[in-house]
């Protein structure tokens, strides 16, 4: 068998891929336009995908525009929800018991056990999943639910040709191309009648899926087109962040007056942490019901909540300034010590979905100014 690892497909090939994933029993999720944004929903064919849609993103602002006729399905950057929610759900019952004669009796917690196929996630999101894997699966502790869902999942990444105004994956080394962490990688090339997708397999399952759909052999022109798309995207990143020396500079900036200035604008609403594809803070709550049943629930939490740093007697981080500093320095600085990577992948969600448009790249750059040591 000479199964190609790289090929070219058209809409028919993509339709076949989606149908194949559905027929294999995957909960097949892809990008769709709903409620004024590109969000993740179940998809069955290309008809469901955001053909012709393009997003305009800036600090605290997101708008979709439609351009007829170009036929592109992935000409938008990341939407408000990241794949984090699928593997590390916002709310999860981790243990349940019913009242029994001699005390509580554990009961099985049922959920949607179908494995997920993620179609059209972006390279920065693949990078974010790799970071989350290190935190929740395979590091010091393993979350069994997260791990099971991740291992069962199929990842079909769509490389980026149209970065948004808040994107800076180019600075973080997480995009716009993708070289690992996927089963299949898609790259849109051409427009209109010449629209095609370069497909590369990154796993045995990916190769198997590729072998089952209608493909054309890839040509040198197609390869060149893919590289042009990525180069063009890299050149049009909306934002950039200089990471050289940043972690140490932010650590040295703990007492900078700039934290107070950003705290004046910060709503401490927690949006940045919940849209972040790598923020993993959670709270565990034990509740009882009227029948004597018990439940242990885990839900997303945010370091911007006053309660989050509550120890006996009060909150350790009572000011917005201290909470914003905790978030930014963890994400860009102490994450390195803790997990060996940056906690930021440059997706720009914290900038776009901040209700007052606080720009992480701007704040971090200002706080690090004059504190970077050149090796």
């Amino acid at each position: 068998m000479d199964t190609p690892t790289t090929a070219v497909i058209d809409r028919q090939g993509l339709d076949e891929l989606l149908a194949e994933l559905v027929s294999r029993g995957y909960r097949t999720l892809g990008p769709v336009v709903a409620d004024g944004a590109v969000v993740t929903r179940e998809v069955t064919s290309c008809v469901d995908l955001p053909a012709g849609w393009h997003d305009e993103q800036g600090p605290g602002r997101y708008r979709l525009h439609h351009h007829d006729g170009n036929g592109r399905l992935f000409a938008w950057a990341v939407g408000p929800t990241s794949p984090k929610a699928l593997f590390f759900p916002p709310k999860e019952v981790v243990w349940r018991a019913a009242a029994g004669e001699n005390g509580p009796v554990p009961v099985e917690v049922e959920g949607d056990d179908r494995a997920v196929a993620l179609v059209g996630i972006r390279p920065c999101e693949v990078a974010a999943l790799r970071i989350l894997d290190g935190v929740l699966s395979g590091g010091a502790v393993t979350d069994p639910g997260y791990r099971a869902r991740r291992e069962a999942a199929v990842v079909v990444v769509a490389e980026c040709g149209e970065p948004a105004g808040t994107c800076f994956c180019g600075s973080m080394g997480t995009g716009p191309g993708c070289e690992a962490g996927f089963d299949l990688a898609l790259t849109e090339i051409g427009r209109g009648a010449r629209w095609r997708v370069v497909v590369r397999s990154g796993s045995a399952l990916g190769a198997e899926l590729l072998a089952g759909i209608t493909v054309e052999p890839i040509t040198g022109t197609d390869e060149e087109a893919r590289h042009k798309v990525l180069a063009s995207a890299r050149a049009r990143m909306g934002r950039r962040l200089e990471v050289e020396g940043l972690a140490a500079a932010l650590e040295a900036a703990q007492e900078d007056p700039g934290w107070a200035a950003v705290a004046d604008r910060c709503l401490s609403c927690g949006n940045c942490t919940l849209v972040c594809p790598t923020c993993f803070c959670s709270d565990v709550e034990d509740v009882s019901d009227l029948s004597g049943g018990l439940e242990r629930r885990r839900r997303w939490a945010s370091c911007f909540d006053l309660d989050h740093s509550y120890l006996h007697g009060g909150a350790v981080r009572p000011t917005v300034q201290s909470r914003y500093r905790q978030w930014l320095t963890h994400k860009l600085s102490s994450w390195w010590e803790q997990f060996g990577t940056s906690g930021c992948v440059g997706c720009g969600r914290c900038i776009t979905w901040c209700p007052v448009g606080i720009d992480l790249t701007e704040e971090a750059t200002a706080l690090a100014a004059g504190r970077r040591t050149v090796p």
Binding site: D35, P90, L290
Partner: protein, 277 residues
């Protein structure tokens, strides 16, 4: 308050009393709305005083008093002291009881002018110049916010009381509930004036899920920054009057909303006049 019998403690079945002050009854009605849980609840507690449910009323002491409404009359200011004296725990429920409610608008105006505009013989009224939360008058053991309160939170407070544990309630923003349920942000994606970022969670982000921006009926979150949100919305072209009135809808008297709305409207806004339609 009618007292027809003396309350005797029943082991394992604590007594609950529900009290009404200046309010619309909607919050205590939320308790009757717990249709699926009502029988189980009645099996675990004894409703010693709950006029909306039963005309039978027994005297105190009460294990748990749920208090709805704000204090707007001298008689109510005295009555709440007596309720505190008779109750082991007092939990206030709803925007009126926790922040003075819609009628808290009088705090920003001359209450006498309102009375004169509405009543032919206002001299028969005996009211206070302000509508104040219960916590201004007595020490309360817990507060449930919202207009009305969330049924689930109401049950949680009673259930936690029965189990002798702390109720699970969040002081974070409504935004976090939008994010948890996957609702696309109305403020960022459409520019709608939404109070979610400064409003206390607890409703499950109900309004945004139905395409309506948050009205702030749960009042301020634990750490709201109303001024910064107002700056952004004014910058987007929303009027200062519109935003000030939004903050004065349900929780006008709640500290951060009162300060934020006064900063937007000025100390003597047009809405303070009883003639304002």
């Amino acid at each position: 308050m009618t007292t027809t019998a003396t309350s005797r403690p029943e082991p394992g079945r604590p007594s609950v009393a529900v009290w009404k002050f200046a309010s619309c009854d909607g919050c205590q009605l939320s308790l009757l709305d717990c249709e699926d849980e009502l029988l189980a609840l009645a099996g675990r507690v004894r409703f010693a005083h709950f006029p909306e449910m039963s005309r039978t009323s027994t005297g105190g002491p009460y294990d748990l008093s749920l208090v709805e409404g704000s204090v707007t009359t001298p008689a109510d200011a005295a009555r709440i002291l007596e309720i505190r004296r008779l109750s082991r725990r007092v939990v206030t429920i709803g925007a009126c009881a926790t922040a003075g409610g819609i009628q808290g608008l009088r705090n920003f105006a001359a209450a006498g002018e309102y009375a004169a505009a509405v009543y032919a013989r206002p001299e028969y009224l005996s009211t206070l110049d302000t509508s104040t939360p219960i916590s201004d008058h007595i020490e309360v053991d817990g507060e449930l916010h919202g207009c009305p309160v969330d049924r689930g939170q109401l049950l949680e407070v009673i259930t936690a009381h029965l189990a002798g544990r702390r109720p699970v309630l969040s002081g974070s923003s409504v935004c976090q509930e939008c994010k948890a349920r996957g609702t696309v942000c109305l403020l960022v994606a459409r520019g709608t004036a939404c109070l979610g970022p400064v409003t206390r969670a607890g409703c499950g982000a109900l309004c945004p899920s139905l395409d309506r921006a948050c009205f702030g009926c749960f009042g301020p979150s634990d750490a709201p920054n109303v001024a910064a949100l107002a700056d952004r919305l004014v910058g987007d072209g929303h009027g200062r009057g519109e935003l000030g009135r939004l903050l004065r809808t349900f929780n006008a008297g709640a500290g951060p909303f009162a300060a934020g709305s006064t900063a937007l409207l000025g100390p003597d806004p047009e809405m303070g006049s009883p003639d304002h339609g």
